[in-house]
C-alpha cells in the first residue's frame, strides 16, 4: 500500500514534503499565539481549498457555494453538541452525512437536467443563499441572533470534545490537511481521477469513451461536500459562535476558493501554497501598514486585490505549475527515465 502510494513520486518531492511537514509539526513550539492563529487559518484554507479542488480542479464543476457545506457541517455538529451533548467526532459523521445528502441533491438537480458551466455555478450560489436565509429563521439553532457553543476555560486539552487551546486545533487541522492531501493524491491517480479529468477537459469526448459522466460528477460533488463539511466542524468548535449571515455568505464561498485558484487549480500543492501565500500576504500587509502608521479604511483590501490581480495576470495557471518547473519536480520526466 505504502509502496503504491509513493509510486512515481520523485525523491526530491518526498524530501521537500517531509521537510515542510516536519517544520509544521514543530512550528507550535516556536510560534507565539498570533503566529499560531495565522497558521490555523492557513491550514483551514488549505484543507477547504483541497476539498473544493476535487470538484473544480479535478472534475471541472465550478461551485461558488461551498460555504453551504462548511455551514451545514458547523451547524449540524454544534446543534448535536449543544442540544444533545453529542461530541464533535460523532457529530462529524452526521455532518458529513448531511453535507453529502445536500451535495447529492444539488448535483442531481444540476446534472440530471444538464445544468453546466456558469449556470451550475449560479445554482450553487442560489442554494447557498437559500441556506443563509433559511438559517436566519431557524430558531432551533438561534436564527439570525447566532448560535453559541459553551466556552469553558479548560485547564487541559480535551481532544474528544474539541475543547482546548489553539495548538490542539492546529494539530487537528494539520492532520486533516495532510489526510486530504494524501486522499487527493490517491484520487487523482485512480480510475475515477482519470475519468474526472476527462470530464473536466471535454465532457462530450469523455462520454464517447464510455464514461457515465452523470455518475462521476455526482461522486465529485458528494466527496467534495463531505470533506468540506469537516472544516465546518472545526470552524464551529474553534470560534464557538455561528451566524448564518457569516458562515453561509457568498464572500465565504469566494474566500475559500481563492487559495486553490492562486496556487493552481487541479494541482495537489496549489491549495496549500495558495493558502500560505494569501494568508501570509494579508497578514504581512496588515503588519506593514501598521508599521507605516497608515490605516486608511479599506487600504489593506485594495492592496490585497492588486496583489491578486498581479498573480492572476502573470501566472494564469497559478503559482504551483511554474514553481514545480523551477524546482524540477515534473513527474513525467522521472516517468520517462524509468520506462
Amino acid at each position: 500500500m505504502m509502496g503504491r502510494l509513493l509510486d512515481g513520486v520523485s525523491k526530491r518531492v518526498l524530501i521537500g514534503l517531509f521537510t515542510v511537514f516536519a517544520a509544521l509539526i514543530i512550528a507550535p513550539l516556536f510560534a507565539n499565539d498570533y503566529l499560531l492563529t495565522i497558521l490555523i487559518l492557513i491550514l483551514y484554507f488549505a484543507y477547504t481549498g483541497q476539498a473544493w479542488n476535487i470538484m473544480m480542479g479535478f472534475a471541472g464543476q465550478l461551485s461558488l457555494g461551498h460555504a453551504i457545506y462548511v455551514g451545514l457541517g458547523a451547524y449540524t455538529t454544534a446543534a448535536l453538541y449543544v442540544h444533545f451533548g453529542i461530541g464533535p467526532w460523532i457529530g462529524m459523521a452526521a455532518a458529513v452525512a448531511v453535507a453529502v445528502v445536500c451535495g447529492a441533491i444539488i448535483g442531481f438537480l444540476a446534472f440530471r437536467f444538464g445544468v453546466g458551466g456558469v449556470y451550475f455555478a449560479i445554482l450553487t450560489i442560489a442554494f447557498a443563499e437559500f441556506f443563509r436565509i433559511g438559517f436566519d429563521h431557524f430558531k432551533w439553532v438561534g436564527g439570525s441572533a447566532g448560535f453559541f457553543l459553551p466556552v469553558a476555560n479548560y485547564a487541559s486539552n480535551d481532544l474528544w470534545n474539541l475543547r482546548g487551546n489553539p495548538a490542539m486545533f492546529y494539530y487537528v487541522l494539520l492532520a486533516m490537511t495532510s489526510g486530504a492531501f494524501i486522499l487527493c493524491h490517491i484520487l487523482l491517480r485512480s480510475r475515477m481521477g482519470y475519468f474526472w479529468q476527462a470530464i473536466r477537459e471535454d465532457e462530450q469526448a469523455a462520454r464517447a469513451l464510455g464514461i457515465d459522466t452523470f455518475r462521476y460528477k455526482m461522486y465529485a460533488v458528494v466527496i467534495s461536500a463531505g470533506m468540506t463539511s469537516i472544516s465546518g466542524v472545526l470552524f464551529a468548535f474553534y470560534y464557538n459562535n455561528l451566524f448564518p449571515e457569516q458562515i453561509f455568505h457568498i464572500s465565504r464561498s469566494i474566500e475559500l476558493i481563492l487559495a486553490p485558484i492562486i496556487g493552481g487549480v487541479g494541482t495537489l500543492f496549489g491549495p496549500i501554497i495558495g493558502a500560505f501565500l494569501l494568508t501570509g500576504l494579508a497578514e504581512a500587509l496588515h503588519e506593514a501598514m501598521n508599521a507605516l502608521g497608515f490605516d486608511a479604511p479599506g487600504a489593506k483590501q485594495v492592496f490585497y486585490g492588486i496583489c491578486l490581480l498581479f498573480v492572476v495576470m502573470v501566472l494564469p495557471d497559478g503559482v504551483w505549475p511554474p514553481l514545480k518547473k523551477a524546482l524540477r519536480l515534473n513527474p513525467h520526466e522521472s516517468d520517462r527515465g524509468k520506462s
Binding site: S190, R191, Y194, Q197, E201, Q204, A208, L209, D212, G266
Partner: protein, 242 residues
C-alpha cells in the same frame, strides 16, 4: 460472416429539415465499410445516431443483435463501439499517454494494466515517443491519430471514424490507411468510416455506401461505386468539376 451492425430504415429530422431518410445497411464483422457523400448529405447525422448522440425519429439500429438506438453515447461505447470526432476533441491539458489511459480504463481497473494497454496502442499508432507531451501541443495529424488511439483503447469491436483523413497530407493519409488496415487485419476490428478523401476510401473500404440528401443512392464495392452514374452526378463529378 456474421452481421455486426444493422441499420434499418432510420430517419432523422431537425425541425423540419430531413437529414436522414429511410437509410438501411448492415455491416459484417471484420469488414471496412465507408460512407461517402457531399457535404450536408447526412453522414455525420447517421454516424451520431449509431454513436448514441441522437436517437433516430424512425427505424432501428441493432448491434450484435440488440437494439442500441436511443442509448446514451457512454452506453453505446460500453457495448463495444468506439468513435472519433470529425473536429478532434483531445483532452488538451492531459498528456498523450493519459488521454489514451482514459479510454483504456473503461474495461480495466488496474492502473498498470491500463498503462500497458495504452503503450501498446500508442506504439501501434506511431505516437509512443510523444506520450509525454500535452495533447494541446500536438499537430493536427497527431491529434487525429490520438483520436483513433483513444477510441481503440476502449477495446471496440466496431470503430466509427469520422473524417480522420481530413486535413492530412497525402503521405500522412497513406500512413493512416496503413495503420487502419493493419489494425483491421491484426485485431479483426470492424471499421465504419465517413470520408471525403477518395484516395483513402479506395485503398481501405471493401464496401461503400453513398448518401445524398439524406438518402442512399448507391451501395457496393469501391470499384463499382466510382463508375455509378448517379454517384458521379451527385458527388464525384461535382467534386472533380469543383
Amino acid at each position: 460472416m456474421t452481421t455486426l451492425l444493422t441499420v434499418d430504415r432510420v430517419a432523422k429530422n431537425f425541425t423540419g429539415l430531413r437529414a436522414i431518410e429511410n437509410v438501411s445497411f448492415s455491416l459484417d464483422a471484420g469488414e471496412i465499410f465507408a460512407v461517402i457523400g457531399p457535404n450536408g448529405a447526412g453522414k455525420t447525422t447517421l454516424f451520431n445516431m449509431i454513436a448514441g448522440v441522437f436517437a433516430p425519429d424512425a427505424g432501428t439500429i441493432a448491434y450484435c443483435g440488440q437494439r442500441i438506438d436511443g442509448l446514451r453515447p457512454d452506453q453505446v461505447c460500453r457495448r463495444g463501439i468506439g468513435r472519433t470526432f470529425q473536429i478532434v476533441r483531445p483532452f488538451p491539458a492531459l498528456t498523450v499517454e493519459d488521454n489514451v489511459m482514459v479510454g483504456a480504463l473503461l474495461r480495466r481497473s488496474d492502473m498498470a494494466a491500463a498503462r500497458r494497454r495504452a503503450h501498446e496502442i500508442l506504439s501501434q499508432i506511431d505516437l509512443l515517443d510523444k506520450r509525454g507531451l500535452r495533447a494541446s501541443a500536438l499537430t493536427l495529424p497527431d491529434r487525429k491519430r490520438l483520436e483513433v488511439a483513444r477510441a481503440l483503447a476502449t477495446d471496440p469491436k466496431l470503430l466509427l471514424l469520422d473524417e480522420v483523413m481530413a486535413g492530412l497530407r497525402p503521405t500522412e493519409t497513406d500512413r493512416m490507411v496503413e495503420i487502419l488496415r493493419q489494425l483491421n487485419q491484426s485485431t479483426g476490428v470492424t471499421i465504419l468510416l465517413i470520408e471525403h478523401v477518395m484516395r483513402a476510401v479506395m485503398a481501405l473500404a471493401q464496401r461503400v455506401l453513398v448518401l445524398h440528401h439524406g438518402a442512399v443512392i448507391a451501395e457496393g464495392a469501391p470499384g463499382e461505386i466510382v463508375r455509378d452514374p448517379a454517384v458521379i452526378q451527385s458527388y464525384l463529378g461535382v467534386e472533380a468539376a469543383g
